[in-house]
């Protein structure tokens, strides 16, 4: 077992990205993710990387756009309003096939909202808050250790398919501390192969242009179809999930991220009280583990979706189980954090206990 270090989620995220080869970070302060840029500001120079506090979130994502085009592993992070501001730039990254990585440590919304933990940005993350047909590879950690290890996975997928990738967290995951175990060895970016799409040193090769547009009739459509094929492959091959007690359960509870930890406590409470309840949590939100849900839904009598928002995540569950079982909903928006006891009460009600 690797040595365990007690780390804050935001710091684990930053350290995880650096160990995964991140050498360019541009960001702008916003609670509850400030520890990410703060950590990067001293760690990046140690690794020969570059940290910059951009003048705005818009500037930050565009700095990423430039840096990513040189082949660097880049990162930005923010929280809800800041991520909204980055949507144009993210769409451009998707359109130019640039592999970027970013994190949204979600807070209560809409608007300025508050700085409490929330999950109200699920739609934005999974359905492309930006314009045009594109998706983002989205991972939803539920522990500080996952905050530390998922950046690597995000980079790997992003570079394999040349798509944007992100971590959707929240104030709980960003602010809490837990012992962390890294499940990979630090990656040295100097050992990466040369890419055939980067710009910056044209000597001895054809010149290259990184761009997201094509005004020639029909060309952009072809490009979109080609990109869509990559997304199809991602959907087929890159989804991940986690489950507990779903083989013999009558009621399937499902949540993602920090909320799944709370649901897990509730499920344990229910099991301890003799109720046949299981838990299914998606680890990737896009691609959504549809098959796993379809399978799991087969045997059950009821499904309970718990999210810290007002009916966003539930749509992916509905689209996956296609009416196989009735879906119940418990949503707490804008910083309302459900407790395990509260979920357990709902479980009992659904099961008629």
């Amino acid at each position: 077992m690797a040595e365990r270090t007690l780390m804050k989620g935001n710091e684990a995220l930053a350290e995880g990205a650096i160990r995964a080869g991140c050498r360019f970070f541009a960001g702008y302060p916003i609670t509850p993710q400030n520890e990410v840029p703060e950590y990067m500001s001293w760690r990046m120079p140690q690794e020969g990387g570059f940290f910059i506090q951009a003048e705005s979130e818009v500037a930050a994502i565009n700095m990423l756009f430039g840096s990513a085009a040189t082949g660097a592993r880049v990162m930005t992070s923010s929280s809800s309003p800041g991520i909204s501001l980055k949507q144009e730039g993210i769409s451009y990254c998707a359109g130019a096939d640039l592999p970027i990585f970013y994190a949204n440590v979600v807070r209560g919304g809409p608007g300025l909202g508050n700085i409490a933990p929330a999950q109200g940005d699920y739609f934005q993350a999974t359905r492309g808050g930006g314009h045009g047909d594109y998706r983002v590879f989205v991972m939803a950690p539920n522990s500080v250790t996952e905050m530390a290890n998922f950046p690597k996975r995000c980079y790997d997928v992003a570079f394999k398919y040349r798509v944007p990738s992100m971590i959707l967290a929240d104030g709980i995951l960003g602010q809490m501390m837990e012992p962390v175990e890294f499940d990979f060895d630090p990656v040295d970016p100097d050992t990466f192969p040369e890419f055939d799409w980067t710009i910056g040193d044209a000597a001895g090769r054809e010149r290259r242009v990184v761009k997201s547009y094509d005004l020639r009739p029909g060309r952009l459509e072809e490009w979109n179809f080609e990109r869509q094929k990559r997304f199809d492959t991602i959907e087929a091959e890159e989804s991940a999930w986690d489950s507990e007690g779903i083989d013999d359960c009558e009621l399937l509870v499902t949540s993602y991220g920090s909320c799944s930890r709370i649901s897990k406590s509730a499920v344990k409470l229910a099991r301890d009280n003799g109720l046949a309840v299981g838990l299914l949590r998606p680890i990737t939100l896009y691609p959504f583990p549809k098959r796993a849900f379809k399978e799991a839904a087969k045997g059950v009598k009821n499904i309970l979706v718990v999210e810290m928002s007002l009916g966003q995540y539930i749509e992916d569950v509905q689209l996956s189980v296609e009416g196989a079982a009735p879906i119940h909903f418990h949503g707490r928006p804008a910083g309302g954090i459900p407790t395990a006891e509260e979920i357990y009460e709902i479980i009992k009600k659904i099961m008629g206990k």
């Binding site: 007690l6 609670t31 700085i115 501390m177 837990e178 012992p179 930890r261 709370i262």
Partner: protein
């Protein structure tokens, strides 16, 4: 063993660092731990608090809804957190600064003049350690040694004499 703890007080009373120390010590002790600070704008110039969980089993929810133990370092914290304690839980009161007394009969109340003890040892700054010593002792959630050994790790830049005072404070807390 499962202990959900809330530590609360003024900013500057070492509430957050006590929480981190407890989590660290729990980890050193071989337990599962989580630490979660209250953060945010509403904290400006006001109270500070954090949640710590120390448990034998893996910890699912890091949120402490109903604490097993609450440590209150100042008056406002008493009002806010005393009612939340689980039946049969424990309330640790720094009586140097808190004059309210609990009227609940379903909890155990431990009263410690932490500021006074700390002053006796040599610095007001270690009042939090006195409370930590008591908390670890009464709950038995980990070995006192784990707590003492962790002080040097968490405050890695502290001078030896300060570390020594921390140790004394923890022990005095456990005794009181």
């Amino acid at each position: 063993m499962y202990q959900g703890i809330i530590v609360a007080g003024f900013g500057g009373q070492g509430v957050v660092s006590m929480g981190i120390l407890l989590a660290y010590a729990g980890m050193v002790d071989g337990k599962h731990v989580t630490f979660f600070p209250a953060y945010g704008a509403e904290m400006r110039g006001g109270t500070a608090n954090c949640s710590v969980i120390v448990a034998i089993d893996e910890i699912a929810s890091p949120v402490v809804g109903q604490p097993d133990s609450v440590v209150v370092m100042n008056e406002p914290s008493f009002a806010k957190f005393e009612p939340m304690i689980k039946p049969n839980g424990r309330l640790f009161i720094n009586t140097s600064l808190v004059s309210s007394r609990s009227k609940r009969d379903d909890i155990e109340v431990i009263e410690i003049p932490a500021n006074k003890i700390a002053e006796e040892i040599g610095t007001l700054k270690i009042a939090n350690m006195v409370m930590a010593g008591s908390l670890v002792d009464k709950t038995g959630m980990m070995a006192q040694k784990s707590l003492i050994d962790s002080v040097g790790k968490v405050y890695s830049r502290a001078k030896p004499e300060i570390l020594k005072m921390n140790e004394v404070a923890i022990k005095r807390g456990a005794e009181s």
